[in-house]
């Protein structure tokens, strides 16, 4: 059910680069601007597809391969589209000993996605993260910016199904 690799956005339609250009302009005199620029462009466009990377490279006067070097190094840059709801399952030590592995499996059972994958309807993305830093309430997950703690696998399943029923 995971989506096919889709790293270009154009497919015949026009891309509006205005937001990207504005962000690059804001940082043009900054030293070490690459990461904040990528973060903000990703925030604006959802993910970093090839046309936008080329555009950033032009704007920052860098080569695209330098930019890709940075993108692929960090876990929080994405070259594929992401789901409306990003389920972050904490796989930190505390969560691990409290059984978080099972929670990832429940996501897979419900939506057929593994770590890093997005469901075909672009509704859910599963992301195993190293530590959310809420170890006191392990096991913990985040769905977008909302944190859920002290979860049992079946409670987690119920939460996922509630999100699945949300419209839109």
């Amino acid at each position: 059910m995971a989506t096919e690799v889709k790293e270009t956005e154009s497919a015949g339609k026009e891309i509006d680069f205005t937001a990207c250009d504005e962000i690059c302009e804001k940082y043009k005199d900054w030293k070490g601007a690459t990461i904040p620029v990528l973060q903000q462009v990703q925030e604006a466009y959802g993910y970093l597809f090839s046309e936008i990377v080329e555009r950033i490279a032009d704007n920052l006067n860098m080569s695209a391969h330098q930019i890709y070097g940075v993108i692929t190094f960090y876990a929080q840059f994405y070259t594929k589209p992401r789901g409306k709801y990003v389920i972050r399952v904490c796989r930190g030590t505390a969560c691990h000993v409290q059984g978080s592995g099972r929670i990832s499996e429940v996501v897979c059972e419900e939506f057929g996605i593994k770590n890093g994958e997005t469901s075909a309807d672009l509704k859910f993305t599963l992301e195993e993260v190293s530590c959310i830093g809420a170890c006191g309430m392990a096991p913990v997950i985040m769905i977008n910016n909302k944190t859920y703690g002290n979860l049992k696998p079946e409670e987690a399943r119920k939460i996922f199904r509630d999100y699945a029923e949300l419209q839109g």
Binding site: K31, G32, A33, T34, I35, P36, L38, Q39, G69, V70, F73, Y74, A75, Q76, F77, R91, G92, T93, A94, C95, H96, V97, Q98, G99, R102, E105, V129, S130, C131, I132, G133, A134, C135, G136, M137, A138, V140, N145, K146, T147, Y148, G149, P153, E154, R157
Partner: protein
Amino acid sequence: MSYTTDHVEVHVCMGTAGVASGGHEVMEALEQEFAKRGLKNAESKERNCAAKQTGCRGLCARDVLIDVYIPGKEPVTYEHVSAEMVPTIVEEHIVGGNVVEKWAAKADYFQFYDKQKRYVLADCGRVDPESLEDYIKLGGYEAIKKALTMTPEQVIDEVKKSGLRGRGGGGFPTGLKWTFCRNSPGDHKYLICNADEGDPGAFMDRSIIEGNPHAVIEGMLIAGYAIGCDEGYIYCRAEYPLAIVRVIKAIKDAEAAGILGDKVFGTDFHFKLKLKEGAGAFVCGEETALIASIEGERGMPRPRPPFPAVKGLWQKPSNVNNVETFANLPGILLNGSEWYANIGTEKSKGTKIFALSGKVKSTGLVEVPMGITVRELIFDVGGGIPKKRKFKAVQLGGPSGGCLTPDHLETPIDYDSLIAAGAMMGSGGVVVMDETNCMVNVAHFFLTFTQRESCGKCIPCRIGTKTMLDILTRIITGQGREEDIDLLLEVGNDIKTASLCGLGQTAPNPVLTTVKYFRHEYEAHIRDKKCPARECAELIEFVVVDDRCKKCGICKKACPVDAITWEKGTVAYIDKSKCVKCRECIVNCPFNAID
């Protein structure tokens, strides 16, 4: 608790755990209740009530926690508070004057604090982290004012005499580190706060920033003045959205008040501060990798020398310290180095914050004097192991550290004793494990993490961690070979010797210590194809043992796929064609009856 107010104040825990448990809803309910009952009257002491958001007070397991302060009375703490409980608390306690005993924290709550000494965290849980005025009201920014009346050398001297050592893991003497950067030639120097707290199982830096961001800024001002830096960065990991929001606000407020920027408090000391958000890479906790990341590069470590103190950020002399180190500084400056040096042990001074988690009753953030024993930390502060299970091991120092066993319970917790025992202080993550945790599985878990986070620059770490992970995967899936244990030790020691940075040099530690103390578990996996803790699903048979089964039926209820048949008075039976090996039955069975 010496905090006093001139009106009724209710402090609501709004750290990450507090918010996740419904902190916002409790705040809102309080505000509504106060408004409804006319309790927002500034004219009257008793009828002037305020709800105040505060940071983490430590015992995250019992969130939402609230403290009710009424002038002239002892403060009262309520635990597990929900919005529905608020009207009763306001009605009976704040209006009626009678504490709602059934929800008030009892002796077991206070036991958590008995052996703690909260200096660094003292104001986390009292101060509103989003209010500069509140921080100043509680004595904030007095330490930097005092420092500005001293010479930079005197400040460094004071920190040296205090014996403060870096809290990020290495334990290098802070004052000495500063001297290197101060003595380095250059007119422009950088100060960096390492808030890239990547160790799974550690969250003290997050809690400090979320709970008291101005304390970190004040610590940075002190360090910046002492070293001679005019520009600073806080490098915070992106996984901490709340911390980022609060630090940005704190910087803005401090700038507006003339505390940051040109002429700090009207003196000739200038200090600009910026926040840099990480992008998800554990290795960036290593100082040279962190510097590369601020420069906008792939966050890969650089060979040392040159050390950052000589050539750091953009080739300028730079000094990197951890959040907790900075947060220690205001106290040292205000109370003096002698006061500080009196806390802790001979070589490890002061207090250390630990993130207590895993199989322990009171999970959360604790601050204890250096030298407290492992037993006191786990059993007195943490309240021991839940579900009447046995303590098996404790992992100290995260993926770089090692585990200690019941034989080490009397070990004092300080930098040097822990290293001697085979673990390390690390950033202060303490993950407790009970008899249901498999140590080979834990080692596999850590290697999965370090292998994934290895940046790939140097070969011993890149290939070595992969090799170790392959061997461990083989062992936990029943494919282990007789020679595997020796191979793990050999590869592990090679990685430690030959890696470029701290990540590789410490990555094998969890494997090496678990082999040292739990070799029999490795052997059981390899020779008998059995996981004694019944955690490695491939090595579990999933059969109910007749004479241990008490016929209670709990396993049937726990099974998510209906693979278990059970009727009252009969031994349960697991249908292997339906079983998905999720281990829910094993986790829930109170009698260890499933093999």
